[in-house]
């Protein structure tokens, strides 16, 4: 089943067309990986899915992104509500300069979805789901900056899932982390995919091959190839895809 259906989607920075007429499905409760060289538009695409690009002035979108059948670029869409449904984890861990507890509680607090008693519960659940609870349960009041980068990134994942989103976008979530922390994040993604739809941008093709169910290959703002990950890596249909994944291009 498709959670999001992208149709004829183009995106512009001023006059520059960063995404060209994209068409692809994002499957529900699956991990979709987006690969491609730097500047190919995969991060722009990811940030289009929760309209974070709106914060950059001079940008414009064309075409449709249907989430559960509703175009998220329709004028009557509440962007704030959309972003609550489509969470995001960034390339560099970006916890707020606050305590571990306050970081996770941030979302429920601003959305006032929880009373104070529930808040403890939500924070604990979110940290457990992000595989961080055992590391931090005795120091919830410590600053988030006391954690190592891998833990900080898992804290950001906990912060994102605390508002119970439907989709989680990850922009190279492991690129600033060491290999052990990277594997932990990948493990976590597999577990989270049971309940969430995940879209991940990655530079690392092994990572895409390891964790994702579907892969899209971007090149100069176009989607060159999209398919089941194992097919795309073992039997790419386009020559460009093959030369990129075998390392001859890019």
């Amino acid at each position: 089943m498709n959670k999001i259906e992208v149709r004829n989607f183009s995106f512009f920075y001023g006059d520059f067309r960063a995404l060209k007429n994209l068409n692809l499905p994002i499957r529900k409760n699956k991990i979709t990986a987006l690969i491609g060289p730097s500047g190919c538009g995969k991060s722009t695409f990811l940030r289009s899915l929760n309209r974070m690009n709106d914060t950059i002035s001079g940008t414009r979108a064309e075409g449709e992104m249907l989430m559960d059948g509703k175009n998220i670029y329709d004028p009557d869409v509440d962007v704030v509500e959309l972003r609550q449904r489509v969470g995001m984890v960034f390339q560099r861990p970006n916890p707020f300069p606050q305590s571990i507890f306050d970081n996770v509680a941030f979302g429920p607090r601003v959305l006032s979805t929880a009373s104070n008693g529930d808040l403890d519960q939500i924070v604990q659940e979110s940290l457990e789901r992000a595989a961080l609870w055992n590391d931090v349960k005795h120091r919830l009041t410590d600053s988030a900056f006391a954690l190592n980068p891998g833990q900080q990134q898992r804290l950001c994942i906990a912060r994102a899932i605390a508002v119970k989103p439907e989709v989680i976008l990850m922009d190279e979530p492991a690129s600033a982390l060491d290999p052990v922390a990277t594997l932990k994040i990948e493990e976590l993604m597999r577990v989270l995919a049971v309940d969430y739809t995940i879209v991940v941008v990655t530079h690392n093709m092994q990572q895409a091959a390891r964790v994702s169910h579907f892969t899209g290959f971007f090149w100069l703002g176009e989607l060159v190839e999209f398919g089941v990950t194992s097919d795309l890596f073992s039997n790419p249909q386009k020559e460009l895809t093959e030369s990129y994944i075998t390392g001859r291009r890019g």
Partner: protein, 308 residues
């Protein structure tokens, strides 16, 4: 060191001599500043100490300032300074922070580029010019509002607030600007509104800078003399407690020193009392600065991972 060795011993010696010269010039500059501050404080103490020795404390902190009859009660002056400063803070801090938030978070960039230098120019207006404006424009306005005179504590507060505003706005805006974009993105991506992002993430993250901005602004207000001297009416009375207290003439500590210094006999008790007032003013500013650096310090250690 290897590059120096390659360049030959002569070059190396010159480099070392240059290092020594620069290091000591910088040290001299640093030490001399501290020395000057210390000397000023010593001078203040030397001239002002007789105040505290010759006048009984009870009389010093009593309510009558009437040097001709040897009544040196500085309470009215303290209250005057306090009233004018508190009034200025109440006006300037919310207004300044709001303007900074508007400039830093909401204003389009062309407007910001245009307004920011303009605001910084305001900081350069000589205080006597503002005092003049207060005298000619503000005072009649306030009198029309029903006060018995236009020269009141409130008039002084308005002028001081105006003087503190550019400092508060400019430094706060810098502090907000320095908050990493990642924090804003993180908050927005969770579904926080723009205002929630500012209120719950950006402002707390910028707290130490905002405190500094307010303190520098207040520091300017409490030490200001000329404008206040012109517009507060200079009556050394303690205003009656109540809602109208801001609308009565007062006299501040700074204005007293400026107004009376010219006509006292050097070495007299009156003379040293004016220095005594200077010492008290100095202590007040010192206390404000200490509190400020304490607040900033707490924030700093929290960043480094201390307990909340």
């Amino acid at each position: 060191m290897t590059t120096a060795n390659q360049a030959g011993p002569q070059h190396q010696a010159r480099r070392r001599w240059g290092e020594w010269l620069i290091e000591n010039t910088v040290r001299l500059a640093g030490v001399s500043t501290i020395l000057i501050v210390a000397l000023i404080f010593l001078f203040l103490l030397k001239e002002g100490i007789p105040t505290f020795l010759d006048i009984p404390l009870r009389q010093l902190f009593s309510g009558r300032w009437y040097p001709i009859e040897s009544l040196y009660g500085i309470l009215p002056l303290l209250v005057g300074s306090l009233l004018v400063t508190i009034g200025a803070v109440i006006i300037a801090v919310p207004l300044g922070l709001t303007v900074a938030i508007y400039l830093g978070e909401f204003a389009p960039s062309w407007l910001r580029e245009f307004l920011k230098p303009l605001i910084e120019i305001l900081a350069g207006i000589p205080s006597i010019v503002l005092g003049f404006l207060g005298w000619v424009v503000l005072a009649p306005l306030i009198q029309n509002l029903g006060a018995s005179t236009g020269l009141t504590a409130f008039t002084g507060s308005l002028i001081l607030a105006y003087m503190a505003l550019p400092t508060i706005i400019s430094i706060s805006e810098d502090a907000l600007y320095a908050v990493p974009k990642e924090y804003r993105d993180g908050a927005l991506a969770i579904g926080a509104t723009e205002w929630q992002t500012i209120w719950r993430v950006v402002l707390p993250a910028a707290r130490s800078g905002l405190v500094i901005a307010v303190m520098l602004g207040v520091g300017r207000a409490i030490g200001e003399t000329m404008a206040v001297l012109m517009v507060t009416g200079n009556a050394a009375n303690i205003p009656k407690l109540g809602a109208g207290m801001f609308f009565q003439p007062v006299r501040t500590m700074t204005a007293t020193i400026a107004a009376e210094m010219g006509e006292v006999a050097q070495g007299s008790l009156h003379y040293s009392t004016l220095f005594g007032i200077g010492i008290i003013l100095f202590l007040i500013t010192f206390a404000i600065n200490s509190v400020a650096s304490r607040v900033v310090g707490v924030q700093g250690s929290r960043r480094r991972g201390g307990q909340l």
